[in-house]
Subunit: 333 residues, 2 copies
């Protein structure tokens, strides 16, 4: 198995990308193709000991930044690490692609270079969302802001397969994000989606509300990219503002500072548990080959975990299973 890694993407740059990749080579016994500026990558590689036949470099001098328009960037920067990496995946040089670069550009690379699975209407952004029970898969977290019921059904199907095959959850529960739990609640999109999900073979548990997200009521949370993006960023904002409030309360006087000192490890632990960036990479579902987006601020540890996730994505034939399910439905139509 060979994993293609965008060595230039991510806020921390090649240092952490290369380090994490080498850790994956040594610990997981995977082959890696590092895509990016060859000189920089070679310099980084010198720091480590690893089986040299397991690591290749694919030169790409350009970098796509987070500020660029995704579709324009992938058309103009043909020699960027992201485009070269995605092309390598499309051409079969590797089995999966990991990038910590621009989410939009990676999604565009997936759709336009690697292409969507036949029969898939839209590719959602899927994010592992931290809950009191562990995590849920939230999709779409922002790729498709105007959705149709059949898109949401496919998101549910793909999310269910991913959670079962990659995250090891048996018969994942599917919840439809809505404004009330009763059937018949919601806007036109959710009402129509409810009807499709109810008729499907998925383990659909009905509507779930905003308050059910952090509680972990469903393994897969299905929603359009507008509501999903707002929910994801609000979750992040609530975690940040809660800690900001906490800090304010704890700096009030000597007594509170003493309490804060005593509980420092617990506060740190809480902070990590509330941080969705801790929970691994985001799979790009609906694309013909496995792609995982690592968070922009990923360090070597996160990159290694992202590669691990990608390995499971590949080994468990997630894409073949999605294709088979979509194929069956299209034949039934």
């Amino acid at each position: 198995m060979k994993i293609i890694v965008d060595a230039m993407g991510g806020d921390l740059g090649p240092l952490e990308m290369v380090k994490g990749s080498i850790e994956a080579v040594n610990e997981l016994n995977t082959n890696i193709i590092l895509v990016g500026n060859e000189d920089i990558i070679r310099d980084e590689l010198k720091k480590y000991t690893y089986p040299e036949d397991k690591v290749e470099i694919l030169n790409a001098d350009d970098i796509i930044t987070n500020d660029e328009d995704p579709s324009l960037a992938i058309r103009r920067k043909k020699n960027s690490s992201m485009v070269v990496g995605a092309k390598a995946l499309a051409d079969g040089l590797g089995d999966g692609f990991l990038s910590a670069g621009s989410t939009g550009a990676l999604l565009a690379s997936g759709i336009f270079i690697v292409k969507r699975i036949e029969g898939i209407h839209r590719s959602p952004l899927s994010v592992l969302y931290p809950t009191l029970k562990g995590f849920s898969l939230l999709l779409d977290a922002g790729a498709n802001v105007d959705c149709k019921p059949e898109y949401l059904y496919q998101f549910a199907l793909m999310g269910s397969i991913y959670m079962e095959k990659v995250m090891g959850i048996t018969k994942p529960t599917i919840g439809l994000l809505n404004i009330g739990t009763e059937k018949g609640k919601g806007n036109i999109l959710t009402k129509d989606t409810y009807a499709i999900l109810e008729e499907s073979k998925l383990n659909f548990i009905g509507n779930i509300e905003g308050r059910d997200l952090p509680a972990g009521k469903a393994d897969v949370i299905v929603t359009d990219g507008f509501a999903g993006n707002i929910a994801l960023k609000l979750t992040e904002g609530m975690a940040i503002s809660t800690f900001s409030l906490l800090k304010e309360e704890l700096m009030k006087n000597t007594r509170t500072k003493l309490g804060a000192a005593i509980l420092k490890p617990e506060f740190k632990n809480m902070k990590n548990r509330l941080d969705y960036r801790e929970y691994g990479g985001a799979p790009l579902l609906g694309i013909k080959k496995p792609i995982v987006k690592a968070h922009g601020s990923s360090d070597a540890y996160a990159i290694k975990n992202g590669i691990k996730q990608l390995v499971k994505f590949i080994e468990n034939d997630v894409i073949k299973i999605i294709e088979a399910n979509i194929h069956i439905e299209n034949n039934n139509d």
Copy 2:
């Protein structure tokens, strides 16, 4: 000034409703009409000392519960405290109406009994949303799940007037809830709404993201009732799950229990600051007369504060100002 109070609504029933009303009579010098079962109300009133000429009772034997379909309930239960109260408001027996009963039924009573202001397309549910800076007004928090740009513009206008006249904020900032801050981001609804808000005389500061809500980036947060409801309930869920996590961390061992004991008042304070129910009632904007929805779990203190808010709503001519603004625009069309 005379305030009509639904004495039967709310989880805590007549006890707290009557107590809060009497506190308002004594402290704010308002007149009150208590609507509900006369015998029960009389029994409650016996507990207090107050100027008797300032308190009236309007009998209504029925109660609308939270489980009932709002539109059906207000049509079938003509003798419910909510319908009788709303009719009293429509007929001019009082100047404003407060209820802690079913939100949906109160909204339906507003729309069908008191009626919408001429030219107003839809009535949003408006909620005071707690932030690091204080609070914002979030609207629509769930009344209209499928919206048009012109509805959202009117929500912004009404929210701005309310925040200025009732909450005392000069030139309130208006933020459009969206998936990115740049102009051009979003779904069809937010893109079209952006264009209208940009051209308006409102203090529009552009798009705001989910993470900006708890930070308090805008005084008025405009959104459709679907995204707004999800945001509101997710905020509630995050506060609950954060405290659940905190509790788990603090019960680990003797050291953490000691720290928890030291910081008890601060944790309590934080909990209150994160609880949106602490921040007063929700005005029903776009209705011909002032209506405020108090939270279902309101105690006497919250009811008194709700009445106070309603008094400002009335005194500051919020409805006349909304009417004048809508009128000017319709003439300009």
